[in-house]
């Protein structure tokens, strides 16, 4: 197992945002994390990246317990992430933004610059390398998030709603990018709202509802489960769906 959560719970006061989640990410797969708003996906995601330390349970990366490690130490081990609302380094150029990621594997400025340029080309931001990152629109910023994360040379990349706010054309372009990243040997965990994205990309999905994992399997199977339909659309819809397709 590449990345594993064992009995992870995250409570904020008396509210349990994540309740006893046990999920394993296999090397080389694309795992989708879905669920309605407020299901605990993002909280769970932050427990994996180290932005939050779970109240209970543990997180393991390549067999090593990383529960107590801060995000920077996890990044060094090979866990990279993007943020749902892009956290662009506004005052810096696109190139400088990506160099921050590249510096994780080299102390040389020239070397970091070379590596960053290659990553920028790869994600299709080439013409924008030298402009200020603050001049990018949402799609550009989302790509920049991915470029920075890739520059850290991760083993697993966790994408938090990397396609939210994109137009259908942009979503297709982003899907191609994610495919090419996967093809280069990087394991992916994607949190996504857009079902189309999950179904086309993920080999396996985990469905969250009210902090619990309610289903786990291939997208085609999971989306037919009544519990999942109920979580998304309510009880009546679940019954109707099962009545229609027995």
């Amino acid at each position: 197992m590449l990345l594993e959560a064992r009995g992870v719970s995250m409570a904020f006061g008396s509210f349990k945002a994540v309740d006893d989640a046990t999920i394993a990410v296999r090397e080389g797969e694309i795992l989708g994390l879905i669920g309605p708003n407020g299901a605990g996906k993002s909280t769970f995601f932050n427990c994996l990246t180290g932005d939050l330390t779970p109240t209970l349970g543990s997180v393991h990366f390549r067999g090593q317990d990383v529960t107590g490690l801060p995000p920077e130490a996890r990044a060094a081990l090979g866990i990279a992430r993007s943020f749902q609302v892009p956290l662009t380094f506004e005052g810096m150029s696109v190139l400088d933004n990506v160099m921050i990621g590249a510096f994780l594997r080299t102390a040389s400025t020239a070397e970091a610059r070379d590596r960053a340029r290659r990553v920028i080309e790869r994600v299709g931001l080439g013409p924008f390398a030298d402009v200020s990152a603050s001049s990018l629109g949402t799609p550009g910023r989302k790509r920049l998030e991915i470029a920075r994360a890739l520059a850290t040379e991760p083993r697993v990349l966790l994408l938090d709603e990397a396609m939210a706010g994109l137009t259908p054309t942009e979503v297709r372009q982003a899907i191609d990018l994610v495919r090419s990243i996967h093809a280069s040997g990087i394991t992916l965990v994607i949190v996504e709202h857009i079902m189309e994205v999950i179904i086309t990309l993920a080999e396996r999905v985990v469905v969250f509802h009210q902090g619990r994992e309610i289903a786990n399997g291939s997208p085609a199977v999971v989306t037919r489960e009544s519990q999942v339909i109920e979580a998304y659309l309510g009880k009546r819809a679940a019954k109707a769906a099962h009545g229609a397709t027995p």
Partner: protein
Amino acid sequence: MRRLLWPIAWLGLIAAYPLVWHTAFQQRLGALVLLYAVAASAWNIVGGYAGQVSVGHVVFFGCGAYGALATYLHLGLPPIAGLPLGVLASVLIAAIVGVPTLRLSGHYFSMATIAVAELVRLIVTNTEFLGAAVGLSGPTVPRSVMDLSFTSSLPHYYLFLAVLIGTLALTWRMENSRMGYYLRAIKGSERAARSLGVAAGRYKLWAYMLSAALTAVAGSLYAIMFGFIDPDSGLGILISVKMLIMAALGGAGYLFGPLVGAAILVPLEEISNNMFGSGGRGLTFVIYGAIIMLLARFQPGGLLDLLQRRLRPRPPAAGARRAA
């Protein structure tokens, strides 16, 4: 070679200044500009590059100033011999204060640094060894050239210029190294920086300690030039504010920002002090307040930021922007 043309031209101009404008007032003014430029440049490392707005830097300034004159008073050595002592004390204080306070974000960090500075001022005001409320004096008559006490400000001018060049060279090296990039990333978004493997806590602390050490150097130079230090002139909050405003006006996070800010504000203050006498001190506060408001409202990046934004390359094409 072309790249070096402008810096060399500027350097020549600055080196020639006190020879061309050679009255005592002009030379003293020049020396003061350079001295405050050193202090503001030191502040710039942690306040500008790393975006951790310290309003307590006067503590480190005081370390240097008191270190110099306490060494003279208690050991009979030239004040300059106390400089390493002041630097050491400031780095130590920075380490002790930095570990808990640098965890705080934004305004909370600034407020914590003010609290520390006021605390130190009160302690020193009540410490006989450091002159208490009366303060410490340097040698009244220079015993040797090592006392660095001169009637003319010219030697001070060139001494401060050398220290400023050293400070800026160090800052320039840092700016172009991994540490410089990391500090700017921390300023942009600490959370994003950490997700990319930046040990934010450690880098902020290093920047704070480096900044403290250089501020202490400025403090020692101040004490050497003026030959007197008391809790107000060595540990007063106005000195912290001056460092901050000079850097912010010129451009916080820009190599030459603090120098530009000092070159504007120091003459302004000296002239207002000369015109209005002791009442000019109050006017200085008014001017600083106005500058803070104007900067915050219209140009938070400072003057050099304004200049740079006019020179920066534009995005390739308006149409291509959405496609990216």
